[in-house]
Symmetry: C2
Subunit: 306 residues, 2 copies
């Protein structure tokens, strides 16, 4: 396979670079096209998504759990300062990671660590494989200012294999990848989720639609406060909504704000679009709604242009 | 872990039974709860989905490609006859496999093969792991009668691991599984698909909706004639629709019939719901629409009760 040239966008595996490959410097990473910028932690654009990220301990809010990473967006710091002094905007690299969630295209993850020389800031960088962005939200960082956060999950070996070897992207082309396949939406189900769907007879709590299939109706369960780190939402009925796929998508992107009186506001237009439908045996826990508002659908400006 | 009792439904991995475990008879499979019925190829119900299937060469239309199986539904044969003499109904085991696609719950696959004794019909059975149902359609079998067909794809090692060890289901309980997580909808994307989505500005060709996200609009690409075996649809723009997640779901379940004049009929109600939206630089190939009608949305009766 032809090696991509300098300055070319490369999504997925870089030909010839295996997981575990170590680079002695950011410059080496850049020359290999594994992570092209010399300073920024995120490589990518809002339009095409992120090619790669570097975790190097630069942000105090990052969490590294191995196959699951909670990554902090960029910005909010003045040039040459480590301390965050203003809110991070949802632009550039931060927007790129949201686009990666939309398209499902994989993101290369590089981890930096001290090179052992004892010199301050002297690091080596290891390519650690392909991850997908499964969630984004915002929070107040340790500094007191807004940060964007992303949950990335490592692709399984089988998935990674299907994303190898065809990743050179000619400059100027506006398709995000040459991937044959990318997984875009992963919808999970739990026993509690099935209970909630039955309580609503598979009817969307936002719009009342009920999708008929040959063997019954189809709906999706949305956890209001997500399971797992770092949200640690509980898998209980009060934390689950029964939604159609469309409103599930919008909910997960923070485009629906649900007030304690269950009024729903569409953030794209700023207008109220109705009230969340209730079922006699299913009560939504307001503390989880508040968590969703705080971390997903309030306190930031969005831009719906594409 | 407590072993499930006889007659109990077991979804996912049966505790203590590893991939490759060989059983000397159907009775052995049944006693181990790996595949409970002694004769039927599919174990499951329309309401809860399929627990397991056996591939044993009994149906002339099965295709076994290792990690991908094209499985043929049951019925259409008179008792004790091997030859199909009428259409297979979408009931019982056949409906169970559609439900498995809806819920995303994994299905155990068991393969039978002659036991080497040379005695006709004398078989051994191997448990070959968890698969998910990713597609179903109908076709005219080699006998000339309608058969239901299912595409099953093996779960990756990582996915299988997350589905182990909690699969006993108390009798009479109406939740399909105790799985912590199941993957329900896998949406794939290709470069061509991205082109089609842009041609329509991420607007659904069925309903005209456009879902706004913080970094642009969200739509899904639906291949009309599926890629891969056995459909071998091409990855070209004429074989792709730009749909919202709701209409993508309905399209994949065969609930939308699209005529050559692009009139759309909702199979749940039998009524016309409009015309497929077109874009100047995107023409749908009618031969693929015809294929979708023939194999997905015509020639069978559906039942939308749940």
């Amino acid at each position: 396979m032809k090696r991509p040239g300098r300055g070319r966008k490369v999504y997925g595996t870089v030909p010839g670079i295996k997981i575990g490959h170590v680079f002695a410097s950011r410059q080496g990473l850049s020359e290999a096209l594994v992570h092209r910028p010399n300073q920024a932690g995120i490589c990518g654009t809002k339009g095409l998504g992120a090619e790669s990220i570097v975790l190097s301990g630069g942000y105090e809010d990052d969490e590294d759990h191995g196959d699951v990473i909670v990554y902090t967006g960029q910005g909010g710091r003045k040039k040459d300062e480590r301390k965050q002094t203003f809110d991070q905007p949802l632009t550039r690299g931060n927007a790129a990671l949201v686009t990666s969630m939309t398209t499902g295209a994989p993101v290369r993850v590089i981890r930096g660590e001290p090179d052992g020389s004892g010199r301050s800031g002297s690091m080596i960088y290891r390519y650690d494989g392909l991850f997908r962005v499964v969630e984004f939200w915002h929070a107040t960082g340790k500094s007191g200012f807004l940060v964007w956060r992303y949950r990335l999950v490592k692709l399984s070996t089988d998935e990674s294999r299907s994303q190898e070897a065809q990743f050179e992207e000619p400059a100027g082309q506006d398709a995000p990848t040459r991937l044959e396949v990318t997984i875009q939406r992963v919808v999970r189900s739990t026993k509690v989720a099935n209970h909630v769907k039955r309580a609503h007879r598979f009817t969307c709590q936002v719009c009342g639609i009920r999708l008929a299939t040959p063997t019954g109706a189809y709906a999706e369960a949305a956890h209001v406060r997500a399971l797992g780190r770092p949200h640690n939402g509980p898998d209980v009925a009060g934390n689950v909504l029964c939604l159609c796929p469309n409103h599930h998508t919008l909910f997960d992107f923070g485009m629906l704000t649900i007030a304690d009186d269950l009024t729903i506001t569409d953030r794209a237009t700023g207008t109220e679009i109705g009230k969340l439908r209730e079922a006699p045996n299913h009560r939504i826990d307001r503390t989880h709604l508040a968590y969703h508002r705080e971390h997903h659908s309030e306190g930031w400006k969005h831009d719906t242009k594409d």
